[in-house]
Assembly symmetry: C2
Homo-oligomer: 234 residues x 2
């Protein structure tokens, strides 16, 4: 797709309320326009490009701010303090009741995705939302680059992206070096905040014991979980 097509898609998504997907398209479109403006020699044309870039950057910034505000507001629906060594806290048990066909878009901010068990937790999370949010169309994943093995991180995320695309779900991942907080936003208007993000399960030891597949049997690390009601955003 060229910049025009991408930005048209961005506007359509934006108008229909799919703001996470709109944001991704705006950012992709802006990147292409940036390349074009660098190659352009005609000053007038450069000006037009700059105006367009500014317009889309502003809109992308507005969406980001709106998402960021959502994560900091809302009324607390449910709060759990998970004790060290406790069981019965699979993702589905923790927040399954907030998953439904009202969830069209999901944002997940999870800084640490580098180790095998971390990718496994991510896939486990995706399994739960894909199964229970039958109209899910778009996932925005924000994480940090794995400085030790960035190729492995990219390959693994690409594999997951391809797998999700077969189910007609777009995974858009982006890297933020300063990301610290963990947060999950459901487009239907819920924020799930887990102190340790997705990674609050202890390893299964010995390996072949209950908890390999069903994380309700997994022992947990101590962490707090808050679920908030916010404005529906897509």
């Amino acid at each position: 797709m060229n910049a025009k097509e991408i930005l048209m898609k961005a506007v359509i998504c934006d108008q229909s309320g799919r703001i996470l997907q709109a944001l991704a398209h705006y950012q992709d479109g802006i990147n292409i326009l940036m390349d074009l403006v660098n190659e352009e020699t005609n000053a007038d044309k450069k000006k037009v490009y700059h105006a367009r870039i500014k317009e889309y950057l502003d809109r992308a910034e507005q969406i980001k701010e709106r998402i960021s505000r959502l994560g900091q507001s809302g009324s607390l629906l449910h709060s759990v303090s998970i004790e060290d060594g406790a069981t019965g806290y699979s993702f589905h048990t923790l927040f399954g009741k907030y998953l439904s066909n009202d969830v069209k878009e999901v944002l997940i901010e999870e800084p640490y995705l580098a180790e095998r068990y971390q990718f496994q937790n991510l896939v486990n999370f995706f399994e739960v939302i894909v199964k229970h949010c039958t109209d899910l169309k778009f996932i925005r994943l924000v994480t940090k680059t794995d400085s030790k093995n960035p190729e492995n991180q990219m390959t693994t995320l690409d594999n997951i992206k391809t797998d999700l695309s077969l189910r007609e779900i777009t995974l858009h991942f982006t890297f933020e070096p300063t990301l610290h907080d963990r947060k999950i936003l459901l487009g239907s208007g819920y924020v799930i905040k887990i102190g340790r993000g997705l990674h609050f399960y202890k390893p299964n030891n010995p390996r072949h014991t209950l908890g390999i597949c069903d994380y309700d049997f997994r022992k947990c690390l101590q962490t707090d979980v808050d679920i908030l009601r916010v404005k529906k955003f897509s």
Copy 2:
């Protein structure tokens, strides 16, 4: 426990209908009596032992025959032919509706338990029955010895046994060199026959894709599943 205690337990289980557990106790008790009879020098005492051994062997044989007949009878409730590459066939989706607190005992005959994925399938099966059969007390597992690495097989099964015992479920495993058929019997009166036993899932490829934890996302090998209603046996 000595032979007398074990055999008393066997009789109590037998009378209260927990025949799989009774069978395990009879067999353990018989083994101890066999050792005692070998050490015994007094001919009269030997005779008493022999009589006791015969009595318990007969009862164990009756139970085995009854279980074996159950596996060959019943009315077909449900039959599924799983196509190669199909998805949506986790254990829970296949036979979850037959799992309830009526299931106190489970028999599983699964010849092949040697590879890591095979133990994983077994644990996955146990997770499903433990979660949904809240009064489950006893599991009898019949398998074949892993001739290549019997120590690993024994250690893994022992680990699973210990884990289940923490949940107050006894796992009794026994080896039958000629075992071929696969079968699951629920004490509440259901037989589940899967052509390939527990091992009809394809490996996840690439690893980090949906289906790591939730086997409804796993691609299957071609196999047939029959679920039959039989007499409740425990």
